[in-house]
């Protein structure tokens, strides 16, 4: 079956459908990671987006079993459902080979109702996004016409509402308790915190946890426009009043920046990949990081008492911020990411030591 990606600027890319044969609408973004599609597709930070994978061969090692669980969470995924609205690749591998695979990517996408296109020039799409900035687009199946109903723009939608948990959930046990504000949490974060002997309480993104007893707060990665999440920012400000450690990751970092009083900008095409180079401020130490963000804190707007912690070596964007005295820090990347480990996990260690 024919499938076409139509960008809002009118560019069309025709390929073959796989996965679900349903049309889809979303913001078109590209990710340059060469492996990790089961993790990426379940990363809530991609909610509402049509994901272009720049690596052309996809599906090679199939999809692992959803039955294997740890802490009640699916072990091989980042959330309990496919978060992307659609997937665009160059060469979908119909057959797979891997000892840990249970099904094909196609079968999984069909079950989740997510459409895919294969056989398109993903490099051409990537360049279009690079040059024009991210834009909306839709996947149409067969000879259907593009939807003329102008879908609401990505930035105007409360994307997090669709991915956050509905009520607090507790994972693990420990002397110290960490509140994880779920803006679209990745399971690997929860696993990582529990493995460090912490009790994790995952709360909805707009949940007022100020009445809870806790030792630290982590605001997670997630999708969408940080400007829409005033409740979360207000909750972070409340947490600041306690002086307890706060870690913001990805969207959480941007919300931490807003809570601090800084401004946030939308990057032209974001940072999405496993190879984002970043440098720790005032040092010669550099790190390869895994990022999936569309916005960044603007360095010039950081209020007194706050500093840039990391700077992206590619485009100079702020990759992390910290407070000069208080134990508050944020990064655009995932210190816990399993796709591509952070060096020695030392940032996570630092944070845990603060607790």
């Amino acid at each position: 079956m024919k499938a076409t990606l139509v960008l809002d600027n009118g560019m069309r890319f025709e390929g073959t459908a796989f996965g679900s044969e349903k049309p889809a609408v979303g913001e078109v973004v590209f990710c340059t990671a060469m492996t990790g599609y089961p993790e990426s597709l379940t990363d809530a930070a991609y909610a509402g987006q049509l994901l272009v994978l720049t690596y052309p061969l996809v599906g090679n090692y199939g999809v692992p079993s959803h039955e294997v669980k740890e802490l009640g969470l699916e072990k091989f995924f980042e959330s309990n459902k496919m978060q992307v609205s659609g997937l665009i690749v160059t060469d979908y591998s119909v057959e797979y080979s891997h000892w840990n695979a249970a099904e094909t990517l196609d079968a999984w996408m069909k079950r989740e109702g997510v459409p895919g296109i294969t056989g398109v020039d993903t490099r051409a799409i990537t360049k279009a996004i690079r040059d024009n900035g991210v834009m909306g687009g839709q996947i149409i199946i067969g000879d259907a016409q593009p939807s003329t109903l102008n879908a609401q723009p990505y930035d105007a939608i409360d994307q997090v509402a669709n991915v956050t948990c509905t009520e607090p959930i507790t994972y693990g046990e420990g002397a110290k308790k960490v509140v994880v504000v779920d803006c679209g949490v990745k399971y690997s974060l929860i696993r990582n915190l529990v493995a460090r002997g912490l009790e994790v309480v995952r709360v909805p993104y707009n949940y007022d946890f100020s009445a809870m007893a806790y030792d630290a707060v982590v605001v997670t990665t997630g999708p969408g426009n940080p400007a829409l999440y005033g409740d979360t920012v207000a909750n972070i400000r409340k947490a600041m009043e306690t002086g307890k450690p706060i870690l913001g990751i990805g969207l959480g970092n941007q919300l931490l920046g807003l809570a601090a009083g800084a401004q946030v900008e939308k990057l032209k095409f974001g940072h999405r990949g496993a190879n984002q180079p970043t440098r720790l401020a005032d040092t010669n130490s550099c790190y390869i990081t895994n990022q999936n963000i569309g916005y960044a804190v603007m360095a010039s707007t950081l209020p007194a008492g706050w500093k840039v912690l990391f700077t992206n070596l590619n485009d100079g964007a702020v990759d992390g911020i910290r407070h000069e005295e208080k134990p508050w820090l944020g990064t655009q990347f995932a210190p816990e990411a399993c796709s591509r480990g952070f060096r020695k996990d030392n940032l996570m260690d630092d944070f845990v030591n603060l607790i």
Partner: protein, 1074 residues
């Protein structure tokens, strides 16, 4: 950053050999460029005169001397560098550097090692230290035991349990290693391994696991990146140099990649690498279990591949790190904007395929395994696996058209051929699929991951779909597009749909080409940008693919670009010398204000460095692909004469398409290439040639031989096995050769020519303009004709040619140049006996010896030729070979030690894998330098002589006397011993292997290491002689004892080392020869 070094010495890797080839020319050139940028003065030691790094303007001082501690110390003493680079010249440079460090030479002269400290190198090279080191950081290693004698090896194998693998420590490319299933095999292999190294490792075999490599860079600030990971198509058990390799990994999950990446970085940090490092893993197929196989603390073949695969210039960056830079302080060389601290994101797949030349060797073992035998490699780039594997299989240049549509292989037992891999295994897989084997069956037999096999099956399925169509019009557009996306060529399609049969090769593929263009199915040009499109690239490192719809670049079509066709995979007969030629052409084109465009696909070369030209198309040199590029680029012209035979062979077909070839016209190239036309031309202009005839029956052959007499040179056009040509001295040999090795028929004629004995072979390398010679170099072989010119030792200027011979050669060359209206480079080979001159061959392209003569004469023949081809005015150089007060010797490097069972003799078919060129004030100095550079050693005491036929014995008598007078103790086999005794040369009689029970046995002495040099001259090809001589020669090679098999060369070498010692050799850099 403050400058720490003023003068840095770089050690090269010497001659190309199996396991150490062109990749180190690339690495070294990059390092030298990096140092130059820093204003550091550079000194290079590398006897490989054909390399780009030994060209003018790359290093400040160049020494064409052996890379051995002795000579390197001399150069250090003279040049007094404050730094040294050991990681850019392969295992040769590394081993030499470690020795200099251990003997205190580096300390004595206060020379600092840039980059990875020597102790870290030692920690990675010594297996036991290495294992201990990794255990400290909880990294799993393959259980192995280091042993120092055979008894301990046996005990270790017992403890570990068979199968085990044997490896010699400190050896390159798996030299002296192999699998042993039982004690008998272990005994044999261990002895050989001990001859290369005092330490041998016995390790548990993990045959069947995946093999994964990581390239890691670390700077002095402890910042680490993994630039590339690679996965072997062939499972563990086949040396990575023998494996088909893809990058990035294809069958590993993110979690697995992440694990190995973290391990690789942990290792590199712990060992203390500063620069580049390669980590090889064995990876389980059923879990995330792994073992570290080895770590190479230097630039390697894999790092060159990774550089080309990603666009990340590893050697360049490693050299900068050695100077003290942090990765974040360097720029990404492709984007020129983002930092060099990054991990490339690839949005394509590359595939490396080794190139073997096992057919060139008599008796060689064709199985591939843990030791390297391949002589070169190719890299293909595309956006589907099917595309890259098919491209790659064409690129290796062994007559294959891809995975399918090849000439049917004759395989008696497919199961066995799948189970026991040879150089042809991938084609056996094709055959098995065609025969209906399932993926599971093939997987069981080969252990190749099913994913790769599924992809190969896709190709087979498409082939079957095409076969169902009759003619190209019947092929649906979608199927045709699918075939192209899967890497099918127009030819493959043409053959599959029956057009080849109907219209012939050329017409068939043109019909497909035209049809798909009508349908709008054309390839697009994509750019390698290191960041998968995230940031724009400033360089033009390009490939073509059908899995895309948009070009990444624009085409100016302004008549200002010139395409140079490269030389393809290194193989016996075509290697780094043509890379040098290509690079010189590119340089000249740029200098003259044109844009240079290169098409080539060999990752080991400098010409495929995107810095060397304005546009690099890293792609095939097939007619189809070259035409694709030409149609897009619309160049001013195309140069086919600097890349050896591959581009030369394209001349006619490109010309037919109306492509403008620069230089000599295609019809004249054809006149030189076509034996009949060339012969007729020589007759017409009155130039002599050895009598020859193309014959189609045994009777005709016999009639011809009745006329010219034995010996004859026999060249079958269809070879069944073994060497492609042979000299036959009598009827028995002739019949044996033709019966065993070749088909004689109307379809497959045999070219028989008169073989002239004891004739000198002389080469003319020259450049002409409109038929007039502008510059020339005449050089002389030391060996008599009968040794392939690629194997011969060549002296330039000639030292023993009659003036009259030279005059005649010049005169004939002028006639030929005029007749063929040559504009550009050419080479003519002559036979000279007395002053009787005959032409053997003429090539209207640069030859193997162009870099050698250009560098000795200090006139860049290619620069001159390129200017001529561009139509620019040139002047005849003021000097010529008669003005030189020094001698250059080009000697050949053989890799018989890696080619198990191959008979190490020289013949009319080329067998050497590389060469060196050394310059001396006289012949003896140059001979000694060059022979030491190709691994010969001056013997200490005992020499074993078997000097062949009566004539050869006589020829060697003076040399034997000389040896005796210098106090050498001579041992000789039967006839030689008798002859020497009769002529008053003292010697000890030793016995041939066939003389069982007699003592002392020559072989025993070799095994006991009592012989320091073997001179064994094969008399003829009779069976007894073959087996006796073969056993001695093979033992010498396997036991690493210097071996000479040619009387003239043996004599020259003996004269040289009897006349002077190594310390008599003056240490002079290239520029000191004036």
């Amino acid at each position: 950053m403050e400058k720490k070094f003023n003068k840095v010495l770089l050690l090269g890797s010497g001659a190309l050999k199996i396991g150490e080839a062109g990749e180190f020319d690339y690495s070294g050139s990059q390092a030298l460029k990096a140092l130059r940028e820093e204003g550091i003065s550079t000194v290079l030691i590398n006897p490989n005169i054909a390399t780009v790094q030994t060209s003018e303007g790359v290093a400040d001082k160049i020494y064409f001397l052996p890379v051995t501690p002795f000579f390197v110390e001399k150069v250090i003493e003279k040049e007094r560098p404050d730094g040294i680079l050991l990681a850019f010249g392969g295992q040769t440079a590394l081993n030499c550097g470690v020795k200099l460090y251990e003997s205190g030479v580096l300390e004595k002269y206060n020379v600092q090692v840039l980059g990875t400290p020597v102790q870290a190198i030692i920690d990675t090279e010594d297996r036991e230290l290495f294992n201990r080191k990794l255990e400290e950081i909880d990294v799993k290693i393959i259980k192995s035991e280091a042993v120092e004698n055979i008894e301990d090896a046996r005990a270790a194998a017992e403890r570990l349990g068979y199968p085990v693998i044997i490896r010699a420590a400190y050896a390159l490319g798996g030299l002296g290693s192999g699998f042993c299933d039982n004690e008998e095999e272990l005994n044999k292999l261990a002895e050989k391994a001990f001859s290369f190294s005092p330490q041998v490792l016995v390790e548990k075999s993990l045959k069947g696991w995946k093999e994964i490599e990581y390239e890691v860079v670390r700077d002095a600030y402890d910042n680490c990146i993994t630039v590339c990971n690679m996965e072997n198509f062939d499972p563990l058990g086949i040396h990575t140099g023998e494996s088909i390799v893809v990058a990035p990994t294809q069958t590993l999950t993110a979690s697995e990649c992440n694990k190995l990446r973290e391990l690789a970085i942990r290792i590199v940090r712990h060992v203390g690498i500063v620069g580049e490092c390669n980590v090889q893993f064995a990876f389980d197929t059923e879990s995330e279990d792994y073992r570290v196989i080895e770590v190479n603390a230097r630039l390697s073949r894999s790092s060159a591949l990774a550089s080309k695969a990603t666009g990340f210039p590893l050697a360049f960056v490693a050299a900068k790190i050695g100077c003290g830079y942090g990765l974040f302080e360097l720029k990404n060389s492709v984007t020129k904007d983002t930092a060099a601290f990054f991990e490339p994101a690839i949005d394509y797949i590359v595939c490396k395929i080794p190139r073997w030349d096992l057919g060139k060797f008599r008796g060689v073992d064709r199985e591939i395994g843990s030791a390297m035998k391949s002589v070169g490699e190719v890299m293909s780039i595309g956006r589907t696996f099917e595309e890259v594997i098919q491209k790659g299989l064409r690129m290796i240049g062994q007559g294959m058209h891809g995975f399918v549509e090849n000439k049917e292989l004759e395989i008696a037992d497919i199961d066995k051929a799948l189970r026991e891999p040879t150089d042809k295994r991938i084609f056996v897989i094709s055959k098995a699929m065609r025969a209906g084997y399932t993926i599971d069956q093939i997987h069981e037999l080969t252990k190749i991951d099913r994913w790769f096999l599924q992809k190969l099956q896709n190709i087979m399925n498409t082939s079957k779909e095409l076969h169902a169509c009759k003619g190209v019009a019947e092929v649906p557009a979608e199927l045709l597009r699918k075939a192209k996306v899967q890497g099918f060529t127009d030819f493959q399609v043409s053959r599959a749909v029956g057009l080849e049969e109907q219209l012939g090769v050329d017409e068939g593929l043109m019909a497909v080409r035209n049809r798909r263009k009508e349908l709008g199915i054309t390839p697009v040009v994509k750019q390698i940008d290191t960041l998968a499109g995230e940031y724009p690239a400033q360089t033009n490192y390009l490939y073509l693919t059908y899995a895309g719809t948009e070009h990444d670049i624009e085409f100016a079509r302004d008549d200002k670009s010139i395409i140079v066709l490269g030389s393809g995979a290194y193989r016996i007969g075509s290697s780094v010398e043509f890379d040098w030629c290509g690079v010189q052409a590119l340089n000249t084109i740029r200098k003259e204000g044109y844009r240079s465009v290169m098409i080539n696909y060999n990752p080991e070369t400098v010409s495929t460095d995107y810095d060397m030209c304005d546009r690099l198309f890293f792609d095939e040199l097939t007619f189809e692909r070259v035409m694709d590029v030409i149609e897009l680029e619309c160049p001013m012209g195309v140069i086919v004469s600097t890349g050896g035979q591959i581009p030369n062979n394209l001349a006619m077909s490109l010309d037919r398409m109306g492509v403008r070839l620069l230089g000599t016209q295609a019809k004249y190239i054809d006149n030189a290439e076509d034996r009949d036309k060339f012969s007729a031309m020589l007759d017409r202009i009155g130039v002599d040639q050895p009598e020859w005839s193309a014959l189609t029956s045994m009777d005709d052959i016999n009639a011809f031989i009745d006329k010219v007499g034995f010996p004859v040179l026999v060249r079958p056009s269809y070879v069944l096995s073994g060497a492609a040509m042979n000299v036959c001295s009598n009827q028995e040999e002739l019949e044996r050769f033709l019966n065993l090795a070749a088909n004689v028929s109307k379809k497959h004629p045999v070219v028989v020519s008169r073989f002239i004995e004891n004739a000198k072979e002389v080469e003319m390398d020259a450049v002409a303009k409109d038929g007039e010679i502008i510059a020339y170099a005449i050089s002389e072989h030391i060996e008599f004709a009968g040794v392939h010119s690629g194997d011969a030792t060549i002296q330039f200027p000639p030292q023993k040619l009659y003036v009259e011979t030279m005059r005649r050669i010049k005169r004939i060359s002028r006639k030929i140049a005029k007749e063929l209206n040559i504009s550009g480079p050419f080479n003519i080979q002559f036979l000279a006996r007395d002053n009787d001159i005959k032409v053997i061959e003429c090539n209207l392209r640069a030859s193997r010896s162009f870099p050698f003569v250009s560098k000795v004469l200090k006139i860049n023949f290619i620069e001159l030729a390129t200017k001529i081809m561009l139509g620019l005015p040139v002047e005849k150089p003021a000097k010529n070979l008669f003005d030189l007060d020094y001698v250059g010797i080009k000697a050949s490097q053989f890799s018989f030690n890696r080619l198990q069972k191959a008979d190490p003799v020289l013949g009319v078919d080329m067998a050497s894998t590389g060469e060196v060129g050394c310059i001396g004030d006289d012949t003896s100095v140059a001979v000694l330098e060059s022979m030491l550079s190709v691994g010969q050693r001056i013997p200490e005491k005992n020499i074993l002589l078997s000097t062949g036929s009566a004539k050869q014995k006589a020829a060697m008598l003076d040399a034997a006397k000389l040896l005796q007078s210098k106090g050498y103790k001579l041992f000789a086999t039967g006839g030689t011993s008798r002859y020497l005794t009769e002529n008053g040369v003292e010697n000890t009689l030793v016995y041939w292997p066939s003389e069982e029970g007699m003592q002392p046995q020559a072989l025993d002495m070799l095994h006991r290491k009592e012989i320091d040099m073997v001179v064994n001259l094969p008399k003829n090809l009779t069976t007894g002689e073959l087996s006796n001589g073969y056993k001695i020669r093979r033992a010498a090679v396997d036991l690493n004892i210097p071996l000479l098999t040619n009387a003239r060369l043996a004599e020259a070498f003996i004269n040289a080392f009897c006349g002077l010692t190594a310390s008599d050799i003056p240490i002079k850099s290239w520029d000191e020869f004036k």
